[in-house]
């Protein structure tokens, strides 16, 4: 099962390398990892999507907590949260334009650039809407696709 784990860390050099090396040394699998400073730049927030059964994810959380620079670890899966991901998709300008624009409109995606060669689209959303959008535009010929990895916030 996939778990969304939210980690508050001290924003110092070496923290990220400690966290990422933990995954290799403990044999954990992660799907995505995002890192950026919080409002207080002394801290950074990491959102990671980890894959494993409850026992493995519990170990992941405990091992993360054991790191001195890690302040708080919460498995927010199943809680009252909003999860979002940003995806940038590049599609050839010669593909079927009307369909492309219509699909984009339908999913609330934004055309951020249109030139002779390419149309670049930005979409922000939860996993379901992003995956459906990608499925819809796939037949139009995706040249490049970049996902930011998920971020999550508690709504409580």
């Amino acid at each position: 099962m996939r778990h969304t784990i939210s980690v508050l860390v001290q924003n110092e050099a070496g923290v990220l390398s400690k966290i990422s090396s933990l995954f290799t040394s403990r044999g954990f699998n992660i799907e995505s990892l995002t890192v950026a400073p919080t409002l207080d730049v002394a801290f950074a927030k990491i959102t990671m999507i980890a894959i494993g059964d409850d026992k493995i994810v519990e170990q992941i959380c405990k091992q993360l907590n054991r790191l001195i620079n890690v302040i708080k670890v919460i498995d927010v899966t199943g809680e009252n949260i909003a999860e979002r991901e940003l995806v940038l998709i590049k599609i050839g300008a010669k593909s079927e334009r009307t369909l492309l624009l219509k699909t984009a409109e339908m999913f609330n995606a934004k055309i951020i650039d249109f030139n002779k060669k390419n149309c670049t689209i930005e979409i922000v959303g939860d996993e379901n809407s992003i995956n459906s959008f990608i499925e819809m535009v796939k037949p139009l010929g995706i040249k490049e696709l970049i996902r930011s990895g998920k971020v999550a916030i508690s709504l409580d």
């Binding site: 001290q10 054991r66 790191l67 001195i68």
Partner: protein, 580 residues
């Protein structure tokens, strides 16, 4: 001087170099001994030693040995051991030692030199990425970027190394940081928002655990290294005696419970006693304290304590339910938890258990009759006999025994019945050959008047044999008992049983250890017959110099009992399986 100035508090402003701050900070931490090896980038520190004669530096002959010596010192005293080495190869050579302290959970602080900050990343001479190389085997590590951070970092390092589950902390010191100057003020306390070890067990969990133990018919306590780290031996002993629960120990928990007590089961695990493993396999409540349930302890996980409810106390939440699923987890310091349990334990409830406990202890007494048979040929010096005689010789003395890793270690751990913690020092988690001798050196430096003895094999002794020079130079009078069988005995026995006697690369044509000892300026003695053991030990004991005793033992002896990898703890070999 104006009145105003007279009234103002006297603030002593001291501007010091990074190297001087290092020395001052060590002094503040009460460090008296340090193990090290100089190199170009840390010469500014070495330049200061003459100004700080309260801090004694021991020059080892290999950096790995410096770390093991520091760990030996830490294990014997409970205080952190300190290491100072240079960058690149110096730092890389410490990795084994750091990992050893990490897996066994002992406090050491390692200072490594680093190339100048502006050279980092340039592949400069003797540059290595020490921070990233050591990260996975340190409890925490630092690369100092500004001399202003140095006092805080050193303060934090000693705090982190010695609190919670103890462990190694490394500080990487670029050369320019050591020469840069700043005002020195050593912080009184640390501010680590991400580091708050849990020391007190949850009262409700403690209550639940006690109730489970009251109801138990066949309970067993497992005492791990956490008992030593938290100084909980007395509380453990009291608790076990009140509830009359037999106590097994892991390799790391040797000496935590009186060895001659009727409740003492001795060592469990792969080469543990038959009765210990049988008792654990048949228990209905397992009370494990300060152990992380390593594979060497549990045997086949799925069949470990099949019928037992498990209570697990550990200060490290990661250890709980990592390998063995636990019914009552208690995160906390072993001593605090046991003190809390002793405070609420009901003597009345305890006494109610004594009748059923007698039945259980009688059952264990039957198992205690099962021992591996020593097939003793005439004129052969059996390694087990050597270990038993050594134990008999030292047991009433003020002694610390260390071991290397291998057959001799397992014999020593099983046959020496230590009754106090910090008397038996051995590498458990990492299983580092070459650990015991430098660890003995560190322990002897901590306690110059004790008898410190390394029980070694001819393979592992050679992994840090160069430290004979250190011992001779500082007259560190450790006694090294080499059980010399001309083999990597543990490898040989694995190949004997699991690879059908096809021996590969396990035979050693060792040096003449007596001559080696003499060449270093130490004393070399040899034992080839049983009747020589005690006289030679007595002679070695009376010599206040390092002594190597070369015991020429029967070369093909195999360590039994033996639970093969993948077998449950209850499947115990007492002799070679049929056909082997």
């Amino acid at each position: 001087m104006s009145d105003k100035n007279l009234l103002a508090p006297k603030v002593q402003k001291r501007t010091l170099s990074g190297a001087q701050i290092f020395m001052e900070a060590l002094r503040k931490e009460g460090v008296e001994q340090i193990f090290g090896y100089p190199g170009g980038v840390i010469l500014s520190i070495y330049n200061e030693f003459s100004n700080y004669d309260d801090i004694k530096h021991y020059l080892v002959r290999h950096e790995q040995a410096a770390v093991h010596a520091a760990e030996g010192y830490a294990r014997a005293t409970g205080k952190p051991g300190v290491v100072l080495v240079t960058c690149g190869p110096g730092a890389c050579n410490t990795v084994t030692g750091i990992a050893n302290a990490f897996y066994d959970g002992y406090p050491i602080v390692v200072f490594t030199g680093q190339v100048d900050s502006d050279l980092i990343g340039n592949d400069a001479f003797q540059e290595a990425d020490t921070f990233n190389i050591t990260s996975p085997c340190c409890k925490h590590n630092y690369l100092v970027k500004n001399v202003k951070d140095l006092p805080r970092i050193i303060k934090e390092a000693f705090h982190i190394a010695t609190t919670g589950k103890p462990g190694p902390v490394l500080i990487d010191l670029p050369k320019d940081v050591l020469s840069a100057k700043t005002e020195f003020k050593y912080p009184d306390k640390v501010d680590l928002p991400g580091y708050n070890p849990t020391y007190t067990g949850h009262p409700l969990q403690i209550k639940k655990a006690l109730h489970l133990l009251y109801k138990a018919k066949t309970p067993v306590i497992i005492a791990g290294g956490g008992i030593i780290a938290s100084n909980a031996s007395n509380e453990l002993t009291q608790f076990a005696r009140i509830l009359r629960v037999p106590v097994a120990n892991t390799l790391m928990g040797t000496g935590t419970f009186p060895g001659e007590d009727e409740l003492c089961l001795g060592m469990m695990g792969m080469h543990g006693n038959y009765w210990t493993n049988m008792a654990i396999s048949h228990c209905d409540v397992l009370f494990a304290i300060g152990t992380r349930f390593s594979d060497r302890v549990t045997g086949k996980l799925e069949k470990f304590c099949p019928d037992a409810k498990i209570i697990h106390v550990d200060i490290d939440p990661c250890s709980i339910s990592k390998n063995v699923p636990v019914d009552i987890p208690i995160v906390g310091d072993a001593r605090n938890v046991l003190v809390d349990m002793l405070n609420v334990v009901s003597q009345q409830e305890a006494e109610k258990t004594y009748l059923k406990r007698k039945i259980w202890l009688d059952e264990i007494t039957e198992w205690k009759k099962v021992k591996p048979v020593l097939k003793h040929k005439k004129d052969e010096l059996m390694p087990q006999v050597v270990v038993e005689e050594i134990y008999g010789f030292v047991k009433n003395k003020d002694v610390i025994v260390t071991t290397e890793v291998g057959q001799h270690q397992m014999w020593a751990a099983r046959l020496c019945k230590f009754s106090e913690p910090r008397r038996f020092i051995t590498s458990g988690g990492l299983g580092t050959m070459g650990f015991g001798f430098p660890a003995a050196m560190g322990a002897q430096i901590a306690y110059p008047d004790r008898l410190v003895m390394d029980i070694a094999g001819d393979g592992s002794f050679q992994m840090n044999i160069q430290e004979l020079a250190t011992c001779v130079e500082y007259n560190i009078p450790v006694k090294i008992c080499v059980l010399n069988n001309g083999y990597l005995g543990m490898i040989r026995q694995l190949q004997h049983v699991l690879f059908n006697k096809k021996y590969s690369q396990c035979q050693l044509s060792g040096p003449d250890f007596v001559k080696v000892a003499e060449a270093y300026g130490a004393v070399g003695l040899r034992v080839t017959k049983e009747e020589e053991i005690i006289p030679v030990l007595t002679k070695a004991y009376e010599i206040n110099r390092p002594v190597v005793i070369d015991f020429i033992v029967q070369p093909e002896e195999i360590v039994y009992p033996w639970v093969l990898t993948g077998d449950p703890l209850s499947k115990i070999l007492l002799e070679s399986p049929e056909g082997v």
